[in-house]
């Protein structure tokens, strides 16, 4: 708890001290990926429903925000809401699947869902502009989320991060959270004790999906371009999962720490080896893969677990 206070206070106060655009930009992205990893953690860490299709929700949010600007010329805040509602629906579908499938077969089903959306978004040219993607129009103002000031972005994303964090803390302390942990550890035993296991799982996945969509919508507005092959990719889903696992599965602050670590490492390795036209760009991903294999074997509690022990 103290660690979290320190982390969020540092992130919130940083814009007052730091003025370097690059650092501020990194901080915004770290917080966005931290939120997405935290949202993933609600389903993957607390409910134990490992999904590699969370990019589906992220993409829904990103497209909702972008299309609000391009097609309907309304505020992207509506896009945030629309994306969250759509993702809640898609999350309910995946939640329903989680009641029918276990383990790796659930994982494959989630990948299939994100692939359906990927193909849909990249082929439905009349509506989504197809695989070229959508440049998000920059319309200045807070209501249209056309904000050039990165400091403001940090505070907006920080608000979302706090919400994601508090939901996770709720899952750690409340009766519902304990029930969810029981479902994760042994679903049959939880059911036999009268825990509404199925409903809890669906709700957890739907909440996780909604937050992921909000991340997607804000990310689209911040970055200014939505590419279906990126926002719906399996790689993106893995990135959320990796940050959460690296930081600590089922811990509230872990995903944010994981995201900071992953984003820093990626930026550094890209700057070091990823010059234009260099094919060494894959290097950081090799490290990610090795990190994933090593962490789940030797430090399944992640960074937070390791910090607690020492």
């Amino acid at each position: 708890m103290r660690g979290a206070l320190l982390f969020f206070a540092a992130a919130g106060l940083a814009p007052l001290v730091v003025s370097d655009a690059f650092l501020l930009d990194s901080l915004v992205l770290m917080l966005v990926w931290g939120c997405a990893a935290g949202a993933w953690n609600i389903a993957g860490g607390y409910a134990g429903q490992i999904s590699l299709g969370h990019s589906a929700f992220f993409g829904l949010g990103a497209y909702a925000a972008a299309l609000c600007g391009v097609r309907w010329n309304i505020s992207p805040w509506y896009g945030v809401a629309i994306g969250a509602v759509l993702a809640t629906g898609a999350g309910a579908v995946i939640g329903f699947l989680s009641n029918r499938l276990r383990g790796p077969y659930f994982v494959i089903a989630t990948i299939a869902v994100s692939q359906v959306l990927l193909i849909g978004a990249s082929r439905w040219r009349g509506f989504t502009a197809g695989s070229e993607g959508i440049p998000v129009p920059f319309r200045p103002g807070f209501w249209t989320l056309g904000i050039a000031d990165k400091r403001l972005w940090i505070w907006i994303v920080l608000a979302l991060a706090l919400m994601v964090y508090l939901v996770q803390v709720y899952l750690e302390r409340s009766r519902r959270g304990f029930q969810l942990a029981a479902v994760r550890e042994d679903e049959d035993a939880a059911l036999s004790l009268g825990v509404a296991a199925r409903r809890l799982k669906v709700v957890a996945i739907a909440v996780s999906a909604a937050f992921t969509a909000v991340c997607g919508a804000l990310w689209a507005q911040y970055v200014g371009f939505v590419d279906p092959l990126y926002v719906f990719s399996v790689d993106l889903s893995i990135r959320f999962a990796l940050a959460a696992i690296l930081g600590g599965l089922g811990s509230a602050l872990g995903p944010f720490l994981g995201a900071v670590l992953v984003t820093t490492l990626e930026t550094w390795l890209r700057a070091e080896f990823g010059g234009l036209g260099s094919h060494l760009v894959g290097l950081y991903l090799i490290l990610y893969g090795i990190a994933l294999i090593v962490i789940v074997r030797y430090a399944p509690q992640g960074l937070v677990g390791w910090l607690r022990r020492t």
Binding site: G48, I50, L52, F96, L97, R100, L101, R102, G103, P104, Y105, V107, I108, A109, I111, A112, V113, Q115, V116, I119, G120, R123, V234, I238, A241, I245, H279, L280, V281, G282, L283, L285, I286, Y288, G289, I290, A291, L292, I293, V296, R297, P300
Partner: protein, 262 residues
Amino acid sequence: MRVVNFAHGEFLMLGMYAAFWAFTLLHADPYVTLVVAAPLFFLVGWGSYALIMRPIVHTSHNVQVFTTVGLSIVLQNLALVLWTGDARFVRTSYYTSVISVGGAVLNFAQAVAFLLAVAATAALFAFMRWSYTGKLMRATAQDRAAAALMGINTDRIFALTWAVGITLVGAAGVLLAPVYAVYPTAGLQFVLIAYIAVVLGGLGDMVGALIAALIVAAVEVIGSYTIGTAWKEVLYLVLFIAILVVRPAGLFGQRGSEAIGA
């Protein structure tokens, strides 16, 4: 084995690259490469099992998922760093040759790949069904603890099963190289279809998987004709999700078999 290997497609990709490099550097025909590559992939399979899979084969599914996903990321990007992301082609002299069977005209390389795949499937089926080792593999997959109590060296059986799987997928990659472009993420499109066929057919059911593969192929072809090639993947993915919702054990699987080992 009751372990889903998310790096399966990457071993297929490695098979395709093996065919490409043998063809480009040594001018070896892919069918010659196959003879050398198959035992090589067996060794690669055995090695990857000993190095990466052995310590986690008895842990939870989530650990297995992430370990194989990690392996998949490593292999994909190793290929990207070593061989760049360019799509490469194996242009054999018979690249444009076709053979006609009845009224149908088939690409030569595709026809050979088809025949060898049928032969390999039949051999694998016979092996799993009738050979003593095949019986040991099925017994170990059904109940590890009981198999170990019966004196089966389950660790060896796991390593062998894993290595056989890698050998077959590597060989498939070599066979596919003359037909499809080779690039670091080439495995994904094939392996997704493979997962779908396996789940549709019922896990651990080889005949079911074969029939399901034919169904997926039929859906793909009919879909391309009726609603266009752009949407054909959506069709079988939606079919896949629908079947999982209605009948998660697969079309021919035993009810409840999807939960075994969960």
